[in-house]
């Protein structure tokens, strides 16, 4: 009977008509709630960044009466914002590249090669991935001081490896497992060495996975705050997360330009997220749940 009412929806066919209407209302309300909950704050940030100072402080309204790009000009051309962004980019790119190279060869060894201690290494990688920065930052600061790496971008790159490297390795182990071993065995039979088989047979197949892992790793490094806050003090070495904090604490920037900076800083991870979106759910599940 319900099948007659709604022949199109296969899963809904089983439910009766009255609950169906109820369900639609419930879905609509839930959708409305989550949209407001998520986009509300984002809307306010973007809208503030487009307001004049008068509108920001004296006559705040939900919808701006006039739009200005002055705040963006201030941030881009009258502050160190672009320098901070460049530092963030440098650190995130270097960290990601290193993690990708060393992480994937390590993951390959764990997923494919047979040697004693393999499981132990896998365990060490998971434990390191889980080891929280909140517990480590004090002693890491001391370690970097000894190595004369504090207040240097190189120090940040090194310390970011402590979380991007185990993360990339762990995700890649999962991906390598999904590639059939026969492919590689065929290459070995044909006289390929292990290393050549890895580079010419396996790596091309893992390319999509590598891209996703790279995006994750880049985002993590881009968003990092605690280590940058603790290890960096000179303005010239600040990443944009710490840089912004400096701007607000020094009262250098009023809220309008501040929110312009916030809007700009949101863009790279959001672009990445939109690009990688169709892998996000499955990728996360593969990394954290299945391995």
């Amino acid at each position: 009977m319900a099948t007659l009412a709604r022949p199109a929806g296969r899963t809904r066919a089983r439910t009766r008509t009255r609950p169906l209407a109820l369900k639609r209302v419930a879905l609509l309300l839930t959708g409305l709630f989550f949209t407001l909950w998520t986009l509300g704050p984002i809307y306010w940030i973007v809208v503030t960044s487009l307001k004049t100072e008068l509108q920001v402080y004296r006559q705040p309204t939900l919808v701006p009466t006039a739009v200005t790009f002055k705040n963006y000009q201030t941030v881009l051309f009258h502050s160190n914002f672009l320098l901070y962004i460049r530092n963030s980019l440098t650190v995130a790119l270097v960290t990601t590249a290193l993690s990708l190279v060393f992480g994937s060869i390590c993951a390959y060894a764990i997923a494919r090669l047979r040697f004693r201690g393999r499981r132990l290494v896998a365990r060490a990688i998971v434990i390191s991935y889980l080891a929280p920065g909140g517990l480590l930052f004090i002693s890491l600061f001391e370690l970097l001081t000894e190595l004369h790496l504090t207040d240097k971008l190189a120090g940040l790159m090194v310390s970011y490896l402590s979380f991007t490297l185990p993360f990339c390795t762990w995700l890649m182990i999962g991906y390598f497992r999904t590639i059939p071993a026969e492919l590689e065995e065929a290459a070995l039979v044909d006289g390929c060495t292990r290393l050549r088989a890895l580079i010419y047979v396996i790596m091309p197949l893992t390319l999509p996975a590598l891209v996703v892992v790279a995006l994750y790793s880049f985002t993590q490094a881009w968003n990092e705050f605690l280590y940058a806050l603790v290890f960096i003090s000179s303005d010239s070495q600040k990443t944009f997360t710490v840089g912004l904090i400096g701007l607000i604490q020094g009262d250098t920037l009023p809220w309008g330009p501040m929110m312009a900076a916030a809007s700009l800083g949101m863009i790279p991870p959001i672009i990445i997220y939109v690009l990688a979106q169709r892998w996000v759910v499955s990728g996360l599940a593969a990394g954290a749940v299945k391995g």
Partner: protein
């Protein structure tokens, strides 16, 4: 090894079997990662414990002081009461945030698992906060919480005549922790949504059909099919999130700095203040982190076991 090969000509040498066929290449490939982990994770752990028994300050040599730091942190006049406060706050902050994120994330996942027009767009919107750097989230909410009429929350409350005073969301000692927790939930629940959604997609449709045939209503199906099917994912998500939430300094640092009157002081913030910002006592700060270490090690080992469970 030559003798081993000679005595058993058909088999591989004993040492070779003991180490595994690919041991040379295997260890060569894992070595860089192992070196980094040893230097940047294992060593700092040991160093933290070592530092906690010294009077190390930034820029000064360290001397062994025994349990002095622990006495100072736990019972000293300067730190004792803040430390107890920090323990309490950390627990409250973590438990409330994790619980709310679980419930909201579950709602989000159930919603996004339904079929309706525009579902992909809705997924993209729901997961958006997860992609924004937490520092920017913190800054933005600081502006939203602004205690003057320019803060959007106060503005809305006044315009709708729900409140005629300006609420100090972050300045009021009774409100501050809850305001911070709300931000943590806002950014954190998409992660739960994604994980639960992935879990939901893995629950077999046949189970629902079977339950429907048996006459189970929607709540019974949720209780007896969905929840058991999600338990593995949920455990991992909650444990992961507990570690991250408790250890995150970002929101608190930006929104309140641990104040007002230490009402939002959690342990990493406290360690930061003692070790880096104020007194610069790295030894005492290490003692604070080491005191929290056993608790996190328990979670980490439980999680490691679960995450590696499917490897075997």
């Amino acid at each position: 090894m030559a003798t081993a090969t000679l005595s058993r000509p058909t088999e591989r040498p004993v040492w070779r079997r003991a180490l595994g066929t690919d041991w040379k290449l295997g260890w060569m490939l894992v070595l860089p990662v192992l070196a980094v982990l040893a230097g940047l994770v294992a060593y700092p752990f040991v160093l933290a414990i070592a530092l906690s028994f010294t009077d190390k300050m930034i820029g000064r040599p360290a001397h062994f002081v025994g349990w002095q730091n622990y006495r100072d942190v736990l019972f000293g006049d300067e730190f004792g009461s803040i430390f107890r406060r920090a323990v309490l706050n950390t627990v409250l902050y973590t438990v409330v945030a994790v619980a709310c994120k679980s419930v909201l994330g579950m709602g989000m996942a159930l919603f996004l698992h339904e079929q309706f027009p525009g579902r992909n767009l809705m997924r993209a919107i729901c997961f958006l906060p997860w992609a924004i750097p937490s520092l920017i989230v913190g800054l933005s909410w600081q502006w939203i919480y602004n205690g003057t009429n320019a803060g959007v929350l106060n503005m809305l409350l006044n315009d709708l005549h729900l409140s005629d005073t300006l609420i100090q969301w972050l300045g009021n000692p009774r409100l501050a922790l809850w305001s911070v927790i709300l931000v943590v939930i806002w950014q954190g629940c998409p992660f739960y949504g994604m994980m639960f959604l992935a879990g939901l997609q893995a629950v077999q449709a046949e189970l629902y059909e079977a339950a429907a045939i048996d006459g189970a209503n929607i709540f019974q199906r949720y209780l007896y099919v969905t929840l058991p099917g999600l338990s593995a994912v949920a455990t991992i998500t909650i444990l992961l999130s507990t570690i991250w939430t408790a250890n995150s300094i970002n929101y608190i640092y930006i929104l309140t700095g641990g104040g007002p009157a230490n009402t939002t002081m959690t342990f990493p913030m406290f360690a930061y203040q003692v070790g880096i910002a104020g007194a610069q006592r790295l030894g005492a700060a290490s003692a604070i982190t080491v005191l929290f270490l056993p608790f996190f090690l328990l979670i980490i080992f439980a999680l490691t076991r679960r995450m590696l469970a499917e490897e075997r």
